[in-house]
């Protein structure tokens, strides 16, 4: 039975979870001898106080939109894809190959091709665990974790042995040609007379990420396939009663998920670094888990949560720069968000439900 009204379910529960995570994070900051209020102020000025800060916040948010959507789509099918990290690494490889080996006349075509390349490589990396789950019942959580490690080895091999330019000691590809340079928010907003920081890495990929949010929303809530994915995620038996094939849905959901995670590479590899480096993903694949949980697997929720994490990420970087608080603080916050919005959901929900029940009884009698 639904005890709580929908708004409480969608807004109140995540907000309280977030608040709990914030309080604990503040305690952590206190414990290592720093001032949480000053830290928050520093984070806000650093991440939101200038177009430069916003540029970084939105750049990170773009990454997290892709990886958050990836986790969310898999969640709808009842699958837990922890492999976003590896899929994004492979997506980067796809982007690098597209950008390095095909001469593109203009970035508009290049970005479309790179998106396809990134999605293909990411989807491919998700396809093997998906197939093993669907056909052989191998637990997808463990296989996707393993594929993260394997992806790191593959990328290492490709960068060290194959893609590294002759004479370079750095395990990275050479710089992409000028023609595939993506316009930044500065370039995009200038025609509208909006002055945006030139140095910040936010770029046209943000627009693609937002389009991806909308498309995922349409897919999940407005198509028969979306209904099938959600139905399979809720009840395997009911899905098979309705003629929804388990193998098909597992494969499709994971291919879409992996593709979305891979697409992150147009932002960080093509848009920002303009070459492929070893540690390009920087944990964004894992942050997607927190983003999807926080956003309740709804694309709009993912959009908001991605911006929140973009803020935390950029704010955390500023903290690391100006205080002795290391960047790992963000990993702690991310862990707490996953803990409270994911695993301890009932801890927040149960007292709330009791409250609403008491309220309703009080209202009727």
């Amino acid at each position: 039975m639904d005890v709580m009204p929908k708004w409480a379910e969608v807004v109140l529960v995540p907000l309280i979870s977030l608040l709990l995570a914030a309080i604990l994070s503040a305690l952590v900051i206190l414990a290592i001898g720093e001032d949480p209020v000053a830290a928050v102020n520093l984070m806000i000025t650093g991440a939101l106080g200038s177009t430069y800060g916003w540029g970084y916040t939105l750049y990170y948010a773009t990454n997290f939109m892709f990886t958050g959507l990836a986790v969310a789509v898999a969640f709808h099918a009842g699958l837990f894809n922890i492999g976003g990290e590896g899929q994004a690494m492979l997506g980067g490889l796809g982007v690098a190959l597209v950008c390095l080996f095909i001469p593109w006349p203009h970035w508009t075509i290049a970005v479309l091709a790179a998106t396809v390349g990134a999605a293909l490589f990411g989807a491919l990396w998700a396809a093997i665990p998906a197939y093993l789950q669907a056909k052989r019942g191998s637990h997808i959580v463990i296989t996707t974790i393993m594929f993260n490690f394997i992806a790191a080895a593959v990328l290492n091999y490709m960068l060290v042995n194959i893609l590294r330019p002759a004479g370079s000691m750095d395990p990275a590809t050479e710089r992409f040609p000028e023609a595939v340079h993506l316009p930044s928010l500065h370039d995009l907003l200038a025609p509208f007379g909006i002055a945006f920081s030139k140095a910040a890495p936010a770029n046209v990929s943000l627009v693609i990420a937002i389009i991806a949010c909308v498309l995922v929303w349409v897919l999940i809530w407005r198509t028969p396939l979306g209904l099938e994915i959600r139905a399979y995620g809720k009840s395997h038996r009911a899905a098979s009663y309705a003629g929804i094939g388990a193998v098909r849905i597992t494969m499709i959901a994971m291919l879409i998920s992996g593709g979305l995670a891979g697409m992150m590479a147009i932002n960080n590899v093509m848009g920002e670094a303009e070459r492929l480096v070893l540690n390009a993903v920087e944990g964004a694949g894992f942050i997607g888990i927190a983003v999807a949980l926080m956003g309740r697997s709804h694309p709009f929720g993912v959009f908001l949560a991605a911006i929140l994490f973009g803020f935390l990420y950029q704010g955390g970087a500023e903290l690391a720069l100006w205080t002795s608080i290391p960047r790992e603080l963000i990993v702690v916050i991310q862990a707490l968000v996953i803990l409270f919005t994911g695993a301890l959901d009932n801890m927040v929900r149960m007292p709330l439900e009791r409250l609403f029940l008491a309220f309703r009884r009080g209202g009727t009698t």
């Binding site: 952590v28 290592i32 001898g33 837990f80 922890i82 093997i128 665990p129 093993l132 052989r136 019942g137 191998s138 637990h139 959580v141 463990i142 296989t143 974790i145 393993m146 594929f147 490690f149 394997i150 080895a153 593959v154 290492n156 091999y157 060290v160 042995n161 894992f286 888990i289 949980l293 002795s324 608080i325 290391p326 790992e328 603080l329 963000i330 990993v331 702690v332 916050i333 991310q334 862990a335 707490l336 996953i338 803990l339 994911g342 695993a343 301890l344 959901d345 009932n346 801890m347 149960m350």
Partner: protein, 324 residues
Amino acid sequence: MNFLALFDLSVLDSTVRLAVPLLLACLAGLFSERGGIFDIGLEGKMLAAAFFSAAIAATTGSVWIGLLAGIGASLTLSAIHGVASITFRGNQLISGVAINFLAAGLTVLIAQSWFQQGGRTPSLIGGGRFEPITLPFADALSTVPFLGPLYSELISGHSILVYVALLCVPGTWYILFRTRFGLRLRAVGENPAAVDTAGVSVVGLRFAAVGICGVLCGIAGAYLATGLQAGFVKDMTAGRGFIALAALIFAKWRPWHALWATLLFGYLQAIALRPDIIEGALGFKVQVQLLDAMPYILTVVILAGFVGKAIPPRAGGEPYVKER
């Protein structure tokens, strides 16, 4: 070609040392999962234990106090996992993921705040480490052909935790199959309703399982930082918690099989450190990245069921809710 070189005594010796943290973590997972609680947070618990054992050992100069601190840290994370997945019936996988990140973040954060050495602890010296123990007659027997070196180099000369880990294997078997606690533990992982209606607390049993898991992970982590290496470095578990999970599946949740499975993975890790031996034995060079990825690839192969089908405890991963 000389295949025997692949089983060089030095490789086997490091096999044992590298298998020990895997074995302890694997047995930890065995207790937890036999009790019906999936735990992908083994990695995080080991990492936390590794840091706190090294940090406390470095500060106090006593490795034993360090070990206790490591176990304490691991138990704390176990308690979180227990509260999330037993008390609040949350998703055990998500809780495990959260614990892994919590450990990854907090260890570096605290290390930086305590030692200012870029997220590591100072190197452990003297009483801050578990020193190798020379078993009786090891030196005297080392001249006996074949068996002598085997005894003196492979069996003797490890730190105390290695022997503890090995003793845990028959210990686990005995507890699981010969005691009341073991019977109840296995029952709660198969059908918690049977335990509940028999008047035994499901919650109590599962917390006990998660607690034992915490202690074993704590020893595993402490061994990493104070036995295998001399101090903590960022992310030093390097996926061992996940490999241990794979070994657990490979072992089909049985203690003796867990020993063999972890020795196999330990061997893979040991041989990956010696590309020279592989090249010498096989006659061609094997890419170092392939060797690094080998344990993970093997895990996938095992999970894919090419090495026999593994059936986990039936109630595993599902929170116990009384039926209406």
